[in-house]
Amino acid sequence: MKRSANLRLALRYLGALVLTVFFLFPIYWLFMISFKTADEIYAFPPVWWPETMQWDNYIVLFRDGDATTVLNSFIVAGASTVLAMFLGTICAYSIARFRTGGDNLANWILSQRMVPPVAVVFPIFLLYVWFGIVDTYLGLILLYTAFNLPYVIWMMRGYILDIPLALEESALVDGCSRWQVIWKVVFPMCRAGLFATAIFTFVFAWNDFIFALVLTRTEITTYTVQVTHYFGGQSNFWSKISAMSVLGTVPVFIVVGFMQRYLVRGISLGAVKG
């Protein structure tokens, strides 16, 4: 009896280990390439651990200023996330609580998200040329905000509908204005949902390539666009590509890791006795 229980546990751990290795391997490989010399990168059989860590691969990115593209990505993704979350949540509140737009507005808003980016990117480019906001923070922030809004509205509407109406009514009677109700009741009640939605919004903007490619030139190039600059006609700078990719991956890890704390806390706090 006990033996079979132990065996089952061992198998479970083994399964978990295999899965972990499977999913972590590409990340490991990415990190390793970024520290290798060109010879080690092409070596066969593959080099699992570089002889000496090639920090130069990174230093050159900072020296040439290429690393600032990560900062650009961060500014653009961060600002658009904050903006989209704020506007999207109050819009979702209005749709959820005041039935703004009747039954179908929420569906219509979601349908906007179904437009393939590549279908609208050139019209937007022409528009941006007209407004003179190509290759500006403002341009990209506005674009990502607009593109993420439908998603935020749709998600937050669901979370807000889950909040018992009496909680808000009680706050209204107790002396809150609508804005205070949103701030003191709605935000804390759907905190887990807020953070989950914010993560997806952030990651979308962070990973975007096509808008950034068309709408930036030299001033605010994002890291996704920067990576492609290392693919040359004759040769590819694999060490630069991987080092840049690592720089682009780490902030997302940090952001998600930071928000996950709130995510888990939010979920446990949401446990209301029915």
Binding site: E169, S170, L172, V173, D174, K184, V185, L269, G270, A271
Partner: protein
């Protein structure tokens, strides 16, 4: 001076007319209970008073000021909700203090006020817990605490006890009534439970389909109902309604049931009832006004004989069900008055307390 004055209040949900021109005045310090079946508009009326719904017509005045266009927070009210409406992410202490903070009460005053309210409701030991750590009864106490901590003009309760089990409900009923006596505040309480209404209210306002059917002190409604609806709504088991006709000769009147049973009326009631002779009427008699016939025959008691179909002892009383005048009727008897179904029983019907109802209008006739 009345704390609340409602004039010709109308409320629609879409095309559904929920509150139909209600007039209501509630004196300061009174405990008023709005009672009625679900869908009668009682909760809507309360929510309109609170400002959570907007009135479609008429006016609401609180403390002499018209509040129709004021948001809930400017109406000087506190409200207890059916589902407690406590914030799960705040400790009990902060839940109670929420309204004080929202109204920018000086910090130094908040602590003592919360303490006092907690003491009043015996929840001092729960102040540092989260709502999810409390039982239903405790949650309701906290919800009440959050209302009483504020010095509001009007306290509104929206079916606050309906989520509690029977025993807790009994306990909290007494507690809320005591709270009212201590605070002396004007309270309006909504319930569908006629026992809550009878036991707690200074005044009952009985609503039906968006209108006030009758209002008055609990016993006044119980003993002198104006309509069949009121007579049937209050009291458990509810009043028996038996079709009958009335015949009057001089100062002698009798009520005749379809099965031929006749019951004589007390002479004092005959004159008032005389105009309704030969009309199709209902005899309304409460189960407790049917008692086991014993030797002495007092004035106004009419004797009937029935065969019990069903016997339900509750311990303190026993309910006997039987057919009378072609319909089912219930008598509330002493515990050992009847022991098994099929038993032949002689009962006295107290015709002093019985009411006669016009079957067409459903209004009680000849009363006072």
């Amino acid at each position: 001076m009345s704390d609340l004055k409602i004039t010709k209040l109308d409320k629609y949900y879409g095309t559904n007319h929920v509150v139909k021109g209600i007039d209501l005045e509630i004196p300061a310090g009174e405990f008023t209970i709005l009672v009625g079946q679900s869908g009668c508009g009682k909760s809507t009326l309360l929510r309109t008073i609170a400002g959570l719904e907007t009135a479609d017509g008429g006016s609401i005045e609180i403390g002499g000021e018209r509040v129709n266009d004021l948001p809930p927070r400017d109406r000087d009210i506190a409200m207890v909700f059916q589902n407690y409406a406590l914030y799960p992410y705040m400790k009990v202490r902060d839940n109670i203090a929420f309204g004080l903070r929202a109204r920018r009460t000086p910090k130094a005053e908040i602590g003592p006020k919360v303490q006092r309210a907690a003491k009043m409701l015996a929840i001092e030991h729960l102040l540092d817990r989260y709502p999810r750590q409390l039982s239903g009864g405790q949650l309701q106490r906290v919800a009440i605490g959050r209302a009483v901590v504020r010095n509001a003009r009007l306290y509104l309760f929206d079916e606050p006890l309906s989520n509690l089990d029977a025993q807790l409900r009994d306990e909290m009923r007494g507690e809320i009534k005591r709270l009212h006596q201590e605070l002396g505040k004007t309270m309006i309480y909504v319930t569908h439970d006629q026992i809550e209404a009878m036991t707690m209210a200074d005044r009952i306002v009985l609503l039906r389909e968006g209108r006030i059917e009758q209002q008055g002190a609990p016993l006044e409604l119980y003993e002198r109902p104006a309509t069949k609806y009121v007579a049937g709504f209050l009291g458990s088991p509810s009043m028996n309604f038996i079709p009958c006709t009335l015949s009057v000769a001089e100062d002698y009147g009798t009520v005749m049931l379809p099965d031929g049973v006749t019951l004589s009326l007390p002479p004092s009631r005959v004159a008032a009832l005389a105009p309704f002779r030969d009309r199709s009427l209902l005899l309304g008699i409460r189960p407790e006004h049917l008692s086991r016939a014993t030797g002495e025959h007092r004035r106004g008691l009419a004797e009937i004989e029935v065969i019990t179909d069903l016997v339900q002892p509750t311990g303190s009383r026993t309910y006997a069900t039987f057919r009378l005048g072609g319909v089912e009727a219930v008598a509330e008897l002493q515990s050992h008055d009847v022991s098994q179904p099929g038993e032949r029983l002689k009962l006295f019907a107290d015709m002093n307390r019985a009411v006669l109802i016009d079957a067409a209008t459903e209004r009680v006739v000849g009363n006072g």
